[in-house]
Amino acid sequence: MASSGVGARGRFLPGDPRTSEPYRLTPQTALRVAVLAFLALGVFAVLFLRLWALQVLSGDRYLAQANDNRVRTLYLEAQRGPILDRNGKVLVENVPGTRLELWPADLPKTWKAQLTELQAISKVTGTSVSGMVAQLKEHGSDPLTPIVVQRGLRQDQIDYLEERAAQFPGVQTQDSFLRKYPYQSLAAQVLGYVGQISEQEYKQKKKAGYQPTDSIGQAGVESEYDTYLRGKNGTAQLTVDSLGRPKGPATLVTQASPGEALRLTLNIGLQRAAEQALRYGISLAHTGIEGKYADGGAIVAMDPRNGAILAMASYPTYQPSIYVGHADAQKLAPLIDLKAAAAANYPGINRAIDATYPPGSVFKPVTALAAMQAGIVHPFDQILCSPDFKDHGQTFLNWTPLIDQWIDLPTALAMSCDTYFYELGKRFYDLPAYQGHQLQGWATRFGLGELTGVDLSPEAKGLIPTPEYLRQRYPASKGYGVLDRTWKPGYSIQMAIGQGQVLVTPLQMTRLYAMIANGGKLVTPHLADDVELTGSNSQPARVLRRFGAQPAQPSGVDPTALRYVQQGLEEATHASFGTGVGVFGSFPVNIAGKTGSAEKNVTLPGDRYPQNLTQSWWCGYGPYLSPTITVCAVIENGGHGGTAAAPAALRVFEQYFKKTANVTQHASD
């Protein structure tokens, strides 16, 4: 081509470029025009193919997309079911509210305009801009589902937003419901609270029918029984333009169906008494030197026959209503901010199930039962209760030096004689290896160091240490010495009085004393009684599903051995030498129970070094011969059990039996 081009050009005379040069279409130019023509054909071929691919081959898909664009599915919030106490008193109910939604697809497209709008929204509603930005960022990929940025708008705020809808593209208000707590902070940690579903929760629960605008139980029974309480959202469809402005009214597709009522085993009167008792116990602790740092605690009251929890108090506590509607960051801080929580001594923690303490003397029934089962002691064996106990050059002190006499097992329990149990601990240590770890084995069988299976979370397991545990916990590979890993006689001796590394939750102890009370059966603690449809005035409530009690498991303990422990516990509150007689001795109902004063290394808030503080315990049950209630009370850093925990527990019994006692003196240990 090029050579013929040169030849063609050669036929022309050199010309003057200013005149109109003789011109012909050279083959070279012709080639280039042809190239352009092919290019044009190629270009149009590409356009036609793409058009065909989009419109004809995938037309249906895009048509569906275009329709999705235009039709918004609105979720009509279902009214959440109420929560009732065992007598039908309403603990949590709903009030109507209005929620504020952002539809990402309809928000301004530029970041700057979006921010301006968010700031305007914030001015009207007080919702934090950074919060909304964070939610939008988290929401990310799905512009066609709304984000709820606030619940509980006021009427004037709603009016403002609706009148100026054009200034707020992508903003919608929807009917909603807010939780209301008629008893304020009562049973706060048990009830839990309701909050906006997080992106993460939504992703996990999408399949279960949760919507991104849903509220969801975040703690307590609100979370545990969310599937029953939440009801079923309705849906409506709305045609909108690109600014999210509705084109006509929404059409209802499915009606929302309200959630079911949850009836708890709690007795709100007893719950109130338990919470007051806790505060009373703490104030009692403050009067003594050992209890001056008392700042928290828990009380559990349970029916020993079936595990129904009658009251579950944890202190400090909070008002669940601060989670409702317009959340106040300052009020919420103790619940969500680690530092603020530490300063307020963790009000969000349910200490009854999620805090662990050394049990101290309330553990002694376990030692007594295990020792009888292992055959290392007979209940009538006389063992010297001395001021101290020596072993391998170590001295273990009794809680009181003012004693030196031979006593049997029930008396040892009643007096809470440490040296008696040190001797048992020593005997456990001396058991031949083939007998296993009897003490730990029975403690575990009684539910210590294990989850209780209560229908609440999170639950702490506690700890019943064993030689195997030590080896695992302090491996040589991490530089621990052989001494760290060796189970020493002192460990068994300490453990016999519930010290050392033993850790339990108040609920575990309640379950243990319920077992003692009911003749050796381990119940499963539970809070939910049933879910039901609340009846209207004339119709009774219809129970949809009964949770109730699960069958109690036999612990395998010998009933005769149990009798001696029961006797010891009864003497503890009634015999002249009992540690609880001053508190329970005059109570008209026969209560049996045990004090505990457990030493624990505690670093108080603001302190740099831990100090040895005493945890005040009392666990027991009544009436002695046919028990219907088990109570465990623990006052953190509250000093001796008889000083703080026992009087607090008495208050619960007083409310339960509607009788009062005449407290004469404060027992010790």
């Binding site: 003789p22 130019t29 329709n67 697809a105 333009d241 690109s242």
Partner: protein
């Protein structure tokens, strides 16, 4: 006279040119009627389509206004018929510098008012010099190259044209109007190509352009130098990964593809086209007019428009081949390619196979400057065709 003495073909040429006295009758007789019909088809179809596209917009249908611009365009088209293309060649320097002057003025005025740097407001009409500049740009560069036809293989010639061309391209680029700058670049490439610049030089130029584009879009930003603002770069590269950022840079693109696809074979009609009517498709009257048309009138409707465009391009290339001299050929080639480029980039961008740039769809997108300029361009094509020599190479 001297020429005729030595070259009879030149003599014949002169005679024929004298015969081309452009009376009205001659004009009508020698016009490219197919091109004229194609033009009428595109304009009419475009006006009808834009009426449907803009009917639900807050301002109402843009068709009457577009019709008015078309009428102005027709006048300019007719005027162009009577101007011998040589005139542009002779006055190419005043045209070139005059255009540059106006572009600088627009930039300066825009900077002073902190507004956009593209328009001059004439009251009844916002005049966009860079649109008109497209055609003038081709006329000027074609003159430069045609004057140096005999030394076209020397590297100075394409380099000189490049120097001439890059100044207005840069001015448009900083307005900022990347789309129009690309059209200018395409026109520059087309005139160099038709003028006969050596293939090896073309290859070097193309390579340089690709390297430059890569540098601006990827290498320099990676090195921390941002020639383009991030949103510009995002728009240019967004089409390669449309689902990355559905709310941001690629929102328009996603909505546009949805609109085109939803149109299906027969279209959703003017009322049923929700992407357009409910304003999900932004800029549906201007940059994304093709998507809107495809949504409302479907594959059939969009194909009709594309076929009409193809007809225009085909006739334009015929005119290149039949031009009376190299200058006319280069001008026609430049216009033809520029037209093809705009059609392609605009419609391809709405379908997600080209970068998103603000290039209007010829004769369809709402906008006076573009409409009038395109009429002028086709008018110049017709003027060239009118002055074609007798068929010698058929």
């Amino acid at each position: 006279m001297a020429i005729e003495a030595v070259d009879t073909r030149a003599r014949g040429l002169r005679n024929r040119r004298e015969a081309e006295v452009v009376g009205l009758g001659g004009v009508l007789r020698r016009l490219d009627w197919i091109l004229l019909l194609a033009l009428a088809g595109v304009v009419g179809y475009g006006l009808w389509a834009i009426d449907g596209i803009t009917r639900h917009d807050p301002g109402g249908s843009a068709a009457p206004r577009q019709g008015l611009y078309a009428a102005v365009g027709v006048l300019l088209f007719i005027a162009a018929l009577f101007v011998d293309p040589d005139t542009y060649r002779r006055f190419r320097r005043p045209i070139y510098f005059g255009t540059l002057g106006i572009m600088v003025f627009v930039l300066a005025a825009g900077a002073a008012t902190r507004g956009s740097h593209r328009w001059i407001n004439l009251g009844f009409f916002t005049f966009q010099p860079s649109e008109f500049g497209k055609v003038l740009f081709v006329l000027v560069l074609a003159g430069f190259l045609a004057d140096r036809a005999r030394s076209i293989s020397a590297p100075e010639v394409p380099l000189g044209a490049l120097g001439y061309g890059l100044v207005p391209i840069a001015l448009v680029f900083v307005q900022p109007d990347i789309g129009t700058a690309l059209v200018y670049t395409a026109a520059l490439a087309a005139v160099l190509f038709v003028a006969g610049v050596r293939w090896s030089h073309l290859v070097v130029l193309i390579t340089l352009t690709v390297v430059f584009a890569l540098a601006v879009l990827w290498l320099l930003p990676a090195a921390g130098v941002n020639v383009l603002k991030p949103y510009q770069a995002a728009r240019l590269t967004g089409f390669t990964h449309p689902s990355t950022d559905p709310q941001g840079a690629t929102y328009n693109l996603r909505q546009s593809i949805t609109a085109v696809g939803a149109g299906g074979l027969r279209g959703r009609g003017i009322v049923g086209a929700t992407q357009t009517r409910l304003n999900y498709l932004p800029e549906h009257a201007t940059d994304f007019a093709f998507a809107s048309l495809a949504e409302e009138h479907g594959f059939f409707g969009a194909s009709i428009l594309l076929l009409l465009y193809l007809l225009v391009v085909w006739r334009a290339l015929k005119i290149v081949a039949g031009a009376r001299d190299l200058y006319c050929a280069i001008v026609a080639g430049g216009i033809a390619f520029m037209f093809l480029f705009q059609v392609f980039v605009n419609s391809a961008m709405t379908m997600g196979i080209a970068p998103i740039t603000g290039i209007p769809l010829p004769f369809v997108s709402v906008g006076g400057s573009s409409m009038i300029t395109n009429f002028l361009a086709i008018g110049i094509l017709q003027a060239i065709y009118l002055r074609r020599p007798a068929r010698r190479f058929s």
